[in-house]
Symmetry: C2
Subunit: 377 residues, 2 copies
């Protein structure tokens, strides 16, 4: 059975990237490897839209979220988390695990943040050393006004802005330097079109100053050790050489396409799926939908978990279901990874077929009809 | 140019494992992936020789070394490190980074440990909660009597034994349960014949008790979160699905061969290289050489770094040089990874050719002559 991944991570990887990673192993302390790694780092700077440092870790995205906090704050420091989904909550959990004083702004899953409230909280509590926000909250498929938050946080010289860009970066605009984002976290298995296993963390000058002050314990994720090694054109630990090979290749493809075109294509695909959902009489869950992934509320009579597993088992098409409080209630369709406009139509057709099978009859093609002109105009 | 890796990590990966990892990405929360992962975990239990738990992390081996300590001890706890090389020293650095009271037994690089001293120190200081030892100290290519240390530490009910088996496991005997090893760390890029990117940590019942007491902060490497997820047949974070695919395949090959045959083959290859070195008038560096990797002291007139880089650039053959105080003085030839007995002869021939080029003339074949009967008897 042919398989198609529409999950918001991991995403499908281009065949040429898969084969690049299947090449024989090179030693991680050779010129051959450093040439590949340095080109990949140059590509990452473009991907992050920064002239600053981007660190690469072998870990899931959560590892780099932890790296951001343990390197920049100390026990007892205030951490303000903008939390409206599972991944916002994760920032809060990490901060608490390390003894930070965590405050969360929680408008509820899928709801937008009131930036005036962010400003109020920051003004009231001068001990806040880090603000954590999420570019695309994958659990609710919501976007967030990171540019606006950047404008607020940059006014506080001792407070940094940490952005979880794991599932958003590359899919939606995010300009690390121009927007004043001090640390942006990302992962390999999303718009970068790589397997999971690598995570990334950009570090601004302001963040480096915070790193100097931080006293939280760390070792594997220690950015100071990382910087010392990089100054000798080395890395502190053994790098995942095959994934780095793939990273370089994937970034070559992205630079060839350009981020502007990538952002536009993700936007168009998301618009197409949102229009199709509407045509099918369904609602998009989020009040501020992201262009990286779309969450569609299922009709009440449809059992979401069964819907997702049957789609996968019968047709090889994998959507994601809902997490935690959204379990069984939504399906999430990603717009990133190795997919094109015809794949988007396939996802919409799959939705139509499976909805009908689940007792929510829809005329075949009703979603495709409205999506096609959006995708191909 | 054909390339051959004899470095003590990363090692060469079998072609069929490379191609297994090039298969299309599966989602990490599907039955298909859990089936692969659970078979890999079963294979890891065999590889570690344990009926207990083995955790998989996306990280380098250093990450799992940190995981072992941060999960099992608390700030101020005593940690005894048996340190006679770079990786013993790393355990000490991690313990210090987390505020443990670290004591090291340091016989000097390449020298063996006096087990009576280990016993004396443990008896004198009842606050020691963890003893850290290294199965194969890669920096000096030395073995360590882990079985003997296990017999001592098991007498202390509140002290666990943590073993860095990163470059030793699979190459030399190491019986986690039978020897009473509470936590054994390993990595993907050594005898397991995978690319770097995964690390592993076995956990005994005694170690789980220590984990209950530990108060050090942790999140990504938190074994309690890991255990909660595993109870639901899940993993806490997104797993590196392509590497896990390769892991299952590599462990299939290892189980087919059996560990006993693997250990014997590594021993024979190491014996062959040691005999060849002797025939060439050279000395093995370590007083207790490991069968995982051999470190050969170069003649004084040979510049070690140039030796290694020329071998790589001219012939595509990669040995490792020395690290830190051994920089330029030794070459290290690994016996693990995707190599057979003819590869061992190739390594010996390469040594002969390059020694002659560096002004240390040796009759061609003098090493091969003594190694061949050892390899093929």
């Amino acid at each position: 059975m042919k398989k198609r991944l529409f999950t918001p991570g991991p995403s499908a990887v281009p065949e040429e990237v898969l084969l690049e990673m299947a090449k024989p192993i090179v030693h991680h302390r050779t010129r051959e490897f450093f040439d590949i790694a340095n080109e990949a780092l140059e590509g990452l700077r473009y991907f992050f839209q920064t002239k600053g440092d981007v660190a690469i870790f072998s870990s899931s995205g959560t590892g780099a979220m932890e790296a951001a906090l343990v390197n920049s704050v100390s026990a007892g420091d205030g951490v303000l988390v903008l939390s409206a989904g599972k991944f916002g909550e994760r920032f809060a959990s990490i901060g608490k695990a390390y003894g930070c004083h965590v405050q969360s702004i929680e408008p509820g899953w899928g709801n937008p943040f009131d930036l005036a409230e962010v400003e109020r909280v920051l003004r009231k509590d001068p001990k806040i050393r880090a603000v954590c926000a999420t570019l695309c909250e994958t659990s609710t498929a919501s976007s967030c006004d990171i540019e606006g938050i950047g404008k607020i946080v940059r006014q506080y010289p001792e407070t940094i802005l940490i952005v979880d860009g794991i599932s958003g970066l590359g899919a939606v605009p995010c300009k690390t330097d121009a927007w004043g984002l001090d640390m942006v976290v990302s992962g390999s298995q999303k718009a970068l079109m790589l397997p999971p296993g690598l995570s990334f963390l950009s570090v601004s000058e302001k963040a480096w100053n915070a790193i100097e002050r931080s006293t939280l314990p760390k070792f594997y994720f220690d950015l100071k050790q990382y910087r010392i090694a990089r100054k000798k054109n080395d890395f502190p630990w053994t790098m995942a050489v095959s994934l780095i090979r793939g990273l370089k290749k994937a970034l070559d493809l992205i630079q060839e396409e350009t981020l502007e075109i990538m952002w536009k294509r993700h936007h168009i695909r998301a618009e197409a799926v949102r229009a199709a959902a509407k045509a099918l009489g369904l609602k998009v869950f989020s009040k501020t939908p992201s262009d990286a992934v779309t969450a569609i509320l299922l009709p009440e009579e449809v059992k979401g978990d069964l819907f997702v597993s049957q789609l996968r088992d019968k047709f090889g098409i994998t959507f994601a279901g809902g997490q935690d409080s959204l379990k069984g209630k939504i399906v999430r369709i990603s717009h990133f990874g190795w997919q094109d406009e015809f794949d988007t139509l396939t996802a919409i057709s799959a939705l139509e077929v499976m909805l009908t099978e689940h007792g929510y009859p829809c005329d075949p093609g009703i979603g495709v009809k409205v999506a096609t002109p959006i995708l191909f105009s």
